[in-house]
């Protein structure tokens, strides 16, 4: 099998806009799942509401496309009731960190054996480009027309602090690394959180000086800083510019986990 065998062929092409990064993250995730050698029958995808959350509908396994923000809570029920199932959650920044923030931190605390892949486009894509909890300060959206005046969440920092066993961040440019990171999450028992920064050319890029799809990808490429290098820079007393994106495996540990297959 290859990653391509996991798609629900009769539903493609998907609804995503031209150049939307979500499709790339689906590729990387399915590629990681495929490398694990899992059966379709034992794998379940769960999601909330948003562009990102449409992903499970394009995958040919059992899948549950739930309500806005609640995917992790639904997934918790599935995993606890049948730990033999491999449960993967697709979510967006608004879905995960705004309306679903409470479920997110509690799942990290329980360290339940789920892999959560967040497509963070720093915007509410599906509803037309409103500010989200990860919209960077100063960024424009339809509800922050003068630039966002709020601080943004560090989703990975949140997951690590709340107790997740495995935390990683990459972008839709880093396809090989992202695939490896998702695979790491699938392998690691307990709660695994992978943040994939993605371009939303339609609702984020267009308003924030990324005129072409490629511009934001170039930005991800030039502003990514591997966590090891960032640590070294800090040790050397060098300042890391605010707009750098720290990528890499940010936490990996073995706290007792819930719902692990016996």
């Amino acid at each position: 099998m290859t990653y391509a065998d996991w798609f629900r062929e009769d539903r493609l092409p998907h609804i995503y806009c031209v150049g939307c990064g979500n499709g790339t993250v689906i590729n990387c995730t399915l590629s990681a799942v495929d490398q694990m050698g899992w059966e379709k029958e034992e794998t379940v995808f769960v999601s909330g509401i948003g562009c990102s959350s449409r992903a499970p509908g394009y995958i040919v396994t059992d899948s549950l496309h739930t309500t806005h923000g609640r995917a992790i809570a639904f997934a918790t029920g599935i995993k606890m009731a049948n730990p033999d199932l491999r449960v993967i959650v697709f979510t967006g920044d608004g879905d995960l960190a705004a309306i679903g923030g409470n479920h997110f931190i509690h799942a990290c605390r329980r360290n339940i054996d789920l892999t959560v892949v967040c497509m963070n486009n720093m915007i509410y894509g599906m509803t037309g480009g409103q500010g989200s909890p990860t919209t960077p300060p100063g960024a424009l959206s339809t509800t922050t027309p003068y630039g966002s005046g709020e601080a943004a969440f560090d989703l990975c920092g949140l997951a690590a602090a709340a107790g997740a066993n495995y935390v990683a961040r990459y972008t839709s440019y880093h396809v090989k690394e992202l695939t490896r990171a998702v695979r790491g999450g699938l392998e690691n028992p307990g709660f695994s959180f992978i943040e994939a920064l993605v371009q939303c050319p339609t609702n984020y890029g267009r308003r924030n000086k990324f005129r072409q799809v490629m511009d934001q990808i170039e930005y991800f490429k030039s502003h990514a800083l591997l966590v090891q290098k960032a640590d070294r820079m800090r040790e050397e007393g060098k300042k890391i510019p605010d707009d750098m994106i720290i990528i890499g495996i940010l936490a990996r540990r073995n706290r007792p986990a819930l719902g692990v297959r016996k």
Binding site: R8, D62, L64, T66, A73, T76, I78, A81
Partner: protein
């Protein structure tokens, strides 16, 4: 045994193997008893972070094929509404126990009420239909909770056990039957479309993990389960079927006690006020006073009213401002007298007897 404990025991006897909940008075004992017993039966108890998560986890668990439930009261019930709509449109069996307390808002946490009878029927957005039972004794807390799972699996709808603080906290003798009747969830035949229903309007259930590759979405979907949110006819067909599968079985599943069917004046009650009515009938020992005691409240079977062909007046005591009385009035041109009661105390039987003097 206490009503809430009997409820939990009834669920266990029915094979419930998943409970997700969040503590709230006066329902907490249900969760506590499940926490005690479920691990010993190979089931799962999980205390979630709120009631939204509780019902979500219950729905998730149900998709793995297990019988799953939660229990709550007013404030938690309000939080569950969106996901209950999700259970309706995805046709997920689940049982929700509501030990009703006084509302709105935090209201009267330790006092009985029946103020959520319309909320359980209409509380989520959109058109739909559900099933609600209302126990009036500790025994019925056991029996009806067990039956709720059968109805939920048969119709693939959320089934509510709409009890109240009085019944939940009452202590009575419970006779535990050797077995409870069990009707299993009909499974999807391999190769059939997952959301295409036959004559009973209920499609077979494609349990997760069995190779059905089913996509389940809260969006309006076609018979394949694929989102189809802009076709008027797909939406219309789906919603009509969701409603019809329950409403067309209204008479078949109706469940009520009928006393003195020749009576001219008939009490209609469900839940705790039934106790006051029974007291009145006992005290007056008149056989021209009838009693229709609903065990299954929603869908309301109006055919039950015609079981009292001579009735001129229906008296409906409720622990609310007349929620079911309004539904009953909708189905009859005979006189319906609501007897609303707020505050937590049960109707005083002598008050009901007094009312009887006035009308008959």
């Amino acid at each position: 045994m206490q009503g809430n404990t009997a409820c939990a025991e009834g669920a266990l006897a029915a094979g419930c193997r998943f409970f997700g909940g969040y503590p709230i008075t006066p329902s907490t004992e249900v969760a506590e008893h499940m926490a005690l017993k479920l691990p010993k039966t190979g089931g799962v108890f999980i205390q979630m972070e709120d009631e939204i998560a509780s019902i979500a986890a219950v729905i998730g668990a149900s998709w793995t094929g297990v019988r799953a439930m939660t229990a709550t009261s007013g404030p938690g019930f309000s939080l569950m509404m969106e996901n209950l709509g999700f259970a309706v449109i995805t046709e997920t069996p689940c049982v929700v126990v509501n030990i009703q307390r006084g509302g709105p808002s935090t209201g009267q946490p330790t006092m009985a009420a029946q103020g959520d009878m319309l909320q359980c029927r209409f509380g989520s957005h959109g058109d739909y239909s559900v099933i609600a039972l209302s126990p009036a004794s500790v025994q019925e807390m056991y029996d009806l909770t067990a039956e709720a799972f059968n109805l939920s699996d048969r119709f693939r709808v959320p089934v509510f056990v709409m009890a109240d603080e009085i019944i939940g906290h009452m202590r009575e003798k419970l006779v535990v039957p050797d077995t409870v009747p069990r009707q299993e969830r009909k499974l999807l035949k391999k190769g059939d479309l997952p959301f295409r229903a036959g004559d009973d309007l209920v499609p077979g259930f494609p349990t997760f993990g069995k190779g059905y590759s089913v996509h389940v979405t809260g969006l309006t979907h076609d018979e394949r389960g694929y989102p189809c949110a802009t076709s008027p006819s797909v939406h219309e067909d789906l919603v009509n079927r969701l409603v019809d599968k329950v409403e067309s079985a209204r008479d078949a599943i109706s469940s009520a006690d009928i006393v003195n069917p020749d009576a001219r004046v008939v009490f209609i009650s469900y839940g705790a006020p039934s106790r006051a009515v029974q007291q009145v009938l006992h005290d007056t020992s008149r056989d021209d006073i009838g009693h229709l005691r609903l065990k299954l409240v929603w869908p309301f079977a109006e055919s039950l009213l015609s079981r009292f062909p001579d009735a001129e007046t229906f008296i409906v005591p409720e622990l609310n401002l007349g929620q079911m009385a309004r539904e009953i009035q909708r189905h009859t041109d005979r006189t319906v007298i609501p007897v609303p009661k707020l505050g937590g105390a049960l109707h005083n039987p002598s008050d009901l007897a007094g009312l009887l003097e006035e009308v008959a």
